[in-house]
Amino acid sequence: MSRFLPLFLLALLVGCGGAREFAQGVVSSGAVVLDESDRVAAVEYREAARRALADSADLASYRRAMDPYDELLVALEGAAASLEALQSLLDVWEAGGRGDWSEAAQQALTAFERLFTVFRLAGVSPPDSLFEFLGSVVDLPEGE
């Protein structure tokens, strides 16, 4: 994607709306990516559970088979919680207050990186949007 288009959009945003609208857009972008990741993970979870249920001899082995997918769920919920924290800060900002953005933003970034890693560990391809979203702000492993 051309790097000029985002710059143009950014200039447009700052000119038309301001920093808070830009921040809301970024947080909402994260929410869209999370929602898409959840849709992908839900389908994979259902399929994995069907296989594990058929192949496992007891509950313990079923749980072991589902461990990577349960980790995926934990990572998804962690990312959701980090976005909610950012949304709360935005709401405070809208009301005229201020909050600790740097820590909340770092936690959200860490949560999304964790989500990406756990997708890989579970052997599930992360959705393109997660790759693009993360790849735009951090260095992802080669070959993705």
Partner: protein, 73 residues
């Protein structure tokens, strides 16, 4: 953070915005996290259903031994 890193980050975030804009359209400015992400994730609902099916097939989990695994009870 040096200015180049900050510039890269802003460009990256703008790219993320384009992604969301493509999905939600102009509503992206009005939507909050709670409007986009459901309270209970779909994957959580799948786990609830899958756990119920597993318990039905294998029976309930044995209660944990409060004295440790080595204690015969």
């Amino acid at each position: 953070m040096d200015p180049l890193t900050i510039a890269g980050l802003v460009i990256g975030l703008a790219q993320a915005l384009i992604l969301a804009f493509a999905r939600l359209g102009p509503e992206i400015w009005d939507k909050k996290v709670g409007d986009i992400v459901p309270d209970t994730l779909r994957t959580r609902l799948e786990k609830i259903a899958a756990d119920a099916a597993a318990l039905e097939k294998f029976g309930p989990e044995p209660p944990a031994n409060p004295f440790g695994e080595d204690d015969p009870g």
